[in-house]
């Protein structure tokens, strides 16, 4: 133990001295959980990176190509603009329809999965696990399945997006519904109101603001998802982007990407302003 540490200990016996004889400045294990987590993350990540066996040199040597590609993309071209704009509108309408249908269905299924509405725990738990499964499969996989089942076109996109979004909404909404205190529901039950009346009069209004918030969030996600649908074979702007890149029409693809960016940015701006104003 150093001399200073001894003096310090006589002044204040509460202090801890570490093994090297120095005064501790924090409690042993103050950050242990986080440190273990950090070390674990670093080890697993390094291991993952090594296992992936990526040829970094090759990628690095080709990086100038990225600049060239961007240059080509930035030479916006309005060739076939009517086709680009139609694909873009298709993407937007897929987003809108998928959002609207899934909100409506999500409210119904969310109600069926809420413990304070359906008193049968077997039903609610089964519903909830089913939604967990639906959400666990990435949206484009659902779109691919829909494509296989009903063929090319926006309908496959809407159905694929909806499957995921319905599961998302059902889970989110059932959480909001379950936040409505059971006394409120019981008070209405006593008056002889039936389940539908209780739901419409008490539960739905109480959860309304959260439903709007979740819908806004999902609308953003739905747009970026529907923008990429085309890349796995469904229609919309994604299809325009991929075919044009693959056909070396970089200018047309660049314009399409710019449109996606601007629309996504506008949605983001819109919702942040709404959030700031009302929440």
């Amino acid at each position: 133990m150093s001399e200073i540490a001894i003096i310090a200990q006589t002044i204040m016996p509460q202090i801890h001295i570490c093994k090297k004889g120095k005064i501790r400045t924090y409690k042993e294990g103050q950050n242990r959980a986080i440190n273990i987590f950090l070390i674990g993350t670093i080890v697993i990540s390094t291991f993952s990176l090594m296992m992936l066996d990526i040829d970094w040199m090759k990628i690095l040597s080709r990086t100038p190509n990225i600049g060239i590609t961007f240059y080509k993309l930035s030479q916006l071209s309005f060739k076939n603009f009517d086709y680009t704009i139609i694909s873009f509108l298709q993407t937007i309408s897929i987003t809108i329809l998928a959002t609207i249908y899934s909100v409506v269905i999500g409210i119904v299924l969310g109600a069926l999965a809420s413990e304070n509405i359906v008193k049968n725990r077997f039903v609610t738990i089964t519903m909830k696990s089913f939604f967990t499964f639906l959400r666990a499969v990435p949206t484009p996989v659902w779109v691919l399945l829909a494509l296989v089942c009903i063929g090319l076109g926006p309908s496959a996109g809407i159905i694929g997006l909806s499957v995921h979004a319905i599961a998302f909404f059902a889970k989110a909404f059932s959480q909001s519904f379950e936040c409505v205190p059971s006394e409120v529901i019981e008070a209405l039950e006593v008056t002889g109101a039936n389940k539908l009346q209780i739901f419409a009069a008490a539960i739905l209004p109480a959860a309304a603001s959260q439903i709007v918030a979740w819908t806004g969030l999902r609308f953003e996600i739905n747009f970026s998802e529907s923008a990429i649908l085309g890349m796995v074979g469904a229609g919309g702007i994604g299809f325009a982007i991929t075919t044009n890149i693959q056909g070396y029409n970089y200018g047309v693809a660049g314009l399409a990407i710019l449109m996606v960016f601007i629309f996504a940015y506008l949605i983001e701006l819109l919702f942040t302003t709404i959030k700031k104003k009302y929440i």
């Binding site: 959980a33 986080i34 273990i36 987590f37 670093i42 697993i44 990540s45 993952s48 990176l49 296992m51 992936l52 990526i54 040829d55 090759k58 990628i59 080709r62 990086t63 190509n65 990225i66 590609t69 961007f70 993309l73 509108l89 298709q90 309408s93 897929i94 809108i96 329809l97 609207i100 249908y101 967990t132 499964f133 666990a136 499969v137 990435p138 484009p140 996989v141 691919l144 296989v148 089942c149 009903i150 309908s155 809407i158 970026s224 998802e225 923008a227 990429i228 890349m231 796995v232 994604g238 982007i241 991929t242 890149i245 693959q246 990407i257 996606v260 960016f261 996504a264 940015y265 983001e268």
Partner: protein, 263 residues
């Protein structure tokens, strides 16, 4: 008092009415434009149900070793990409937060770059990079890094701005350097939230790396895509179940870590 209330209600009602009208217009417009009729599809197309109930059942697995290997690649891609993005984002967020950035003008530039990168979906990045660099796991990896980096930078900047304005001021007045403020102030105060976002991005990237894989990034996505293309639907169904199981497991694990470590 009563009079005032009714005015607010009227105003609110007006907003709701406008909102509903806009939604209705959008709904009708989109339906006409995309000719989407869910009832027709559900009721009249027997194909749809036949596919779901016959072609995909029972889910089977051929070549299961191969499939598990591809799942592993997808997970490794997600973790590796999130890790690299996290480190990059940490660095850039320090300069992107107005409160602590040693060059406040830089913060606007970093925010703008992050906004740009983030609002273009990861898959679009993948396609741009595939066309520049050729397809492959490495390029898919870079695409994941770009979108994750942008997301995390923005999230980290918000964490720093939220938490540590007062704390950083307290550190500045003692005559500390920028890096001292970062390591003695920002990192201890914000680490928990940084890690929470890190876990969130792992969850997102497990899904994203599957999708990037489908279009050429390798991993389980590519395997699934090839089985679907060659009409081997039962194996495809098996792979989808495995993907779902993996994602649920990862979500459970991150949820557990969040509860245990980050409280």
């Amino acid at each position: 008092m009563k009079h005032k209330r009714s005015i607010i209600n009227k105003k609110e009602k007006k907003v709701y009415t406008y909102f509903l009208v806009v939604v209705a217009v959008l709904f009708i417009g989109s339906t006409i434009f995309s000719k989407y009729n869910p009832f027709e599809i559900l009721l009249e197309q027997g194909e749809f149900w036949r596919f779901l109930t016959v072609d995909f059942f029972p889910p089977t697995l051929q070549n299961s070793l191969n499939i598990f290997e591809s799942i592993l690649i997808t997970i490794e891609m997600a973790i590796g990409a999130t890790f690299i993005s996290g480190i990059l984002a940490l660095f850039f967020a320090m300069f992107g937060s107005e409160y602590i950035s040693p060059v406040p003008k830089l913060s606007k530039v970093i925010r703008a770059i992050a906004t740009f990168l983030r609002n273009i979906p990861a898959l679009v990045w993948a396609f741009i990079l595939f066309s520049a660099l050729g397809i492959g796991t490495g390029v898919g990896f870079v695409a994941l890094v770009i979108s994750t980096f942008a997301f995390m930078t923005r999230a980290f900047i918000e964490v720093i701005d939220d938490i540590s304005h007062d704390a950083i001021e307290g550190l500045s007045v003692v005559g500390s350097t920028f890096w001292q403020r970062v390591f003695q102030g920002v990192i201890p105060s914000c680490m928990q939230d940084f890690l929470a976002w890190f876990l969130y991005c792992i969850e997102v990237n497990i899904r994203a790396s599957t999708i990037v894989g489908m279009v050429g990034g390798g991993g389980v996505g590519l395997v699934l895509f090839s089985y679907l293309k060659s009409f081997k639907y039962q194996t495809a169904a098996g792979i989808i179940l495995i993907i779902a199981a993996t994602i649920i497991l990862v979500d459970l694990l991150t949820g557990y870590l969040r509860k245990k470590v980050l409280l």
